[in-house]
Every structure is written in C-alpha cells, then in structure tokens.
Amino acid sequence: MKIIAEMGEYAMLMFQAFKRPDKGRVFRRQLMMDFQDLGANSIGIVAIISVFTGAIIAMQTAYNMDNPLLSLKLVGFSTRQMMILEFSPTIISLILAGKVGSSIASEIGTMRVTEQIDALKVMGINPANYLILPKITASVIYNPLLIIFSMFLGIGGGWLACIVTGLVPSSVYIEGIQSWYDPFTITYALIKTVVFAFIISSISGFKGYTVSGGSVEVGRNSTQAVVYSSILIIIFDLILTQLLLV
C-alpha cells in the first residue's frame, strides 16, 4: 500500500513539476546552473571510469581468447559493443545515480527542512516546477552527451591498454572497432540514457521534496533516492533491451 501511495505522490509531483515555468528567464538561469552542477561537474568521474573500464574489457577479452581460430580483432569489436550497449549507458548511469541523485535529493531535502520550499510556496512560486524541472531537463539533455563522451573514452581506453600491454596490435584493434557496426546500437544506448536520466533526476527530486523531519531524514531519503534509482535503472534496462534489441 505504501508503494502505491508513493507512486501516486510521485505522479502528482511530476504533474506539478511539468507545468509551464513562472518566468522563462529564471528557468533558463536555473537550467544553466544545473548543467554545471549535474553535468559538467560529472565529466571527471565519467572520464576516469570510462577509460579504465574500456581498458579492462579489452584486456579481459584478450586474456580469454586463447583459441587461435578466433581473430584478435574481436577484442576491439567486443570492447566497442560492450561500451556502447551496456557499460556507458547503464554503468555510467548507475554511477551518476550515486553522484547526481544523492546531490539532488540532499539539496532539495535540505531546502525542505530549512523551510526554503515553504518560502517559495508562500511567495506564490510552484516549488516543484522551480526546483525539479530544471534538474530533469539538465539531466535529460546532458547525460546523453556524457554517455557519448564515455563511449569514446572507453574504446580509447581499450586501445591504450592494447598498446601498453602489447596484447593486441593497434591496427588489429582499430580494425576490430570498425567491424560489424550497427548504428542502431547508438540509438538504443541513447534511448536508454534518456530514460535513465529521467529516472535519476525525477526520483531523486521526489525523495528530496518529500523529506519531513531533519538532517537524519535528509540522509535517509538521499540514500533511498540512490537505491530506488539504481533498481529502476536495472529494471528499465531489461525492459528496454527486450523492447528494442530482442
């Protein structure tokens, strides 16, 4: 029953959040701040994780290919496919659920317990729209860019690993990443990313907005935001894969 009540509350909050902003100029300003906070500030962690993930995939694939009948260019091919299909959109989104999700929930939750949301409301401003919509918009626009960036870095990381370890010649790896390419895999990855970005920002916004109590509850709701977002990302990963690929 509690889950159904929460789903109802979430739907009502989203209905409030997706209303037309009171002032376009103020909305754009908030959006720019959120691009910076939620997007640009995540570039570093995305870059580090993508390069290392790509490198590890390439090395593990090469290590497991001891059959002389298998071409070494499969290392490049596998790295590309894994990065595009799963690691960049899903794993990076899970990492962003931790970083961005907890940041959104704790920021909005603190505003709730310090009466800043009440202050917005009594000023006649729709707080859900003012606080949550720019964050959802920023995430939905910026996350696909981060994921494309992650794909390039991951594939590049694999190439670096091959050169440094000497497991696969550079030309063979590059030939591998150019083989059997299906552009739809990028579309599939970006569709997933947009859905995951919406899940992260809206669930975290909801958990922050509905905090009641003090700092303990802010921490608890931030944790819940990350857990709920992560579980929903995995569930929707399965659903979207079934719908789009299988």
């Binding site: 009171d22 002032k23 100029r25 103020v26 701040m33 603190t110 505003m111 310090t114 009466e115 800043q116 009440d118 202050a119 409301k121 009594v122 000023m123 006649g124 401003i125 729709n126």
Partner: protein, 250 residues
C-alpha cells in the same frame, strides 16, 4: 485586515485548532502567543496557506483565501511577506540575490530599479553593505534582517513572522522587534507575529491573541495583559521570576 472566522484544523484525528475566531488589524503588530503545542504555528501556516483548514474561513481585506485554488491564492500570496523561523534564505544565492528574488519573479522592473529597491530595503534593515555575502557568512540576527528585507521587497500588505526572535540574544531580539514594528507603521501593513518571547509581547504587542490547547483563550493589548485575571494566561506570561516581579512592580 485579516479575518479568521471559526477555523478548525486537525491532524490524524487530533484537534489542533478549535473554532478560532479573531481579527488581525491593519497597521498594527498582532501577536499570537501560547505554549509550545498550543497551535500558534498551525494557525499561522493556515493563514499563509501552507495548511488547508478543515472548517471556517480566512479573509484578506474581505477577499476569501481559504477556499481558493492555487492560481487565485497566488494573487493574494504576492501581497504577503513571510519571515520564517530560520530565515529560509536560499543558500546558493547571496544577500542581494535573495532580496531580489521576489522582484525577479513577480515584477517587470529594470535591473537598475531592482537594485534601487534592494538597496532601499537593505538600508531599512541596517545592512547597507552585505549585498555580496552568502547566508553561511551571516550571523543569526543578520539572517533574520535579510529575511525581513526579502519579505518586504515587494511592499507587501501582510507580514507574517514566525518566532522572529528565536535563537537571538535579548539585545538583537529587541532590534528585530523594533524593526518589525517600525516597518509595520511605515508601510501600514497587517503584521502577524507568532512568538513566545515575553519581551516582544510587552514591547510591541498592540494586539495579542493567546492560544490555549487549540482554543483562542484571551485577546487584548500589552497594557491589558499586565492586569488580566485570566488564570491560564497569567500562568503562561508570568511563569518566570522576572515577569512575576515585573507584574508586582506595576
């Protein structure tokens, strides 16, 4: 003038306000006093529309507020200024941006006009050089003053203050009281203050409403409160040695 007509409010079956009927007068500082849990914060939150009332009516200068939808409430809310207990300043904005926020949202003033208004209200609260400071760099008294500046930046007709003196030393509390009282007079606002600070009651309580267990128990001025024979009110107001001595002296 704000008319509160027979309002009741309960939470989960527990009656918090019981048929409250009073008037908050224009140009006066109207104080709501009472023990913790007496319902004064709930009454104020009902007045500003943060809680929906179960029964009754709240009118702002004859305009019904309680039954209105969010869109229509918004028009009356633009005429309200609210000072929250902790100030409720926006952490990511500096003082100037906090005070300018309502002007950005609800006026078509030019940047120059907005800056002029911000300077004016910051001067009124004696913070002429705090524009670029962040809320985290301000003392408790300064936060309250910035919050007052933000609350009056749109020249409201109604000012609500929730425990404006909580957490402040007596001297700073007196400054805040005087500030609110002066602004009420200057702008001819209907000011409603929720407090349990007896200094405020005696200093600026032009009209005092005493709540006891969710009921309106007594109403009068700061002069009348010194001579009341209401037992519960006397127990509350003269509960400290200092106030008891004060009463005997008078």
């Amino acid at each position: 003038m704000i008319e509160v007509k027979n309002i009741s409010k309960s939470f989960g079956g527990q009656q918090v306000l019981n048929g409250i009927e009073t008037t908050f007068e224009k140009g006066k500082t109207n104080l709501i006093i009472g023990q913790s849990g007496s319902g004064k914060t709930v009454l104020m939150k009902c007045c500003i529309g943060l809680f929906d009332i179960d029964e009754g009516e709240i009118n702002f200068d004859g305009r019904g507020f309680s039954g209105l939808g969010e869109k229509k409430k918004k028009d009356i809310r633009k005429e309200m200024g609210v000072l929250f207990q902790g100030g409720a300043l926006f952490d990511s904005f500096n003082v100037e941006e906090n005070v300018m926020f309502p002007l950005n949202m609800f006026t078509k003033m030019s940047l120059e006009e907005k800056r002029e208004r911000v300077n004016d209200v910051l001067n009124r609260v004696n913070l002429p050089n705090a524009h670029k400071k962040l809320p985290s760099e301000l003392s408790g008294g300064m936060i309250k003053r910035v919050a007052i500046a933000r609350a009056i930046s749109l020249r409201p007709q109604y000012l609500f203050c929730d425990e404006p003196n909580s957490g402040l030393d007596p001297k700073t509390a007196e400054v805040i009281d005087e500030l609110i009282s002066n602004l009420t007079e200057q702008f001819n606002m209907t000011t409603v203050i929720n407090t349990h600070d007896m200094n405020s009651v005696l200093q600026i309580g032009q009209k005092i409403s005493y709540l006891y267990k969710g009921n309106l128990w007594w109403e009068g001025s700061n002069t009348e409160i010194m001579h009341t024979d209401n037992e519960e009110l006397n127990d509350f107001v003269f509960s400290t040695e200092l106030t008891r001595r004060l009463k005997v002296k008078r």
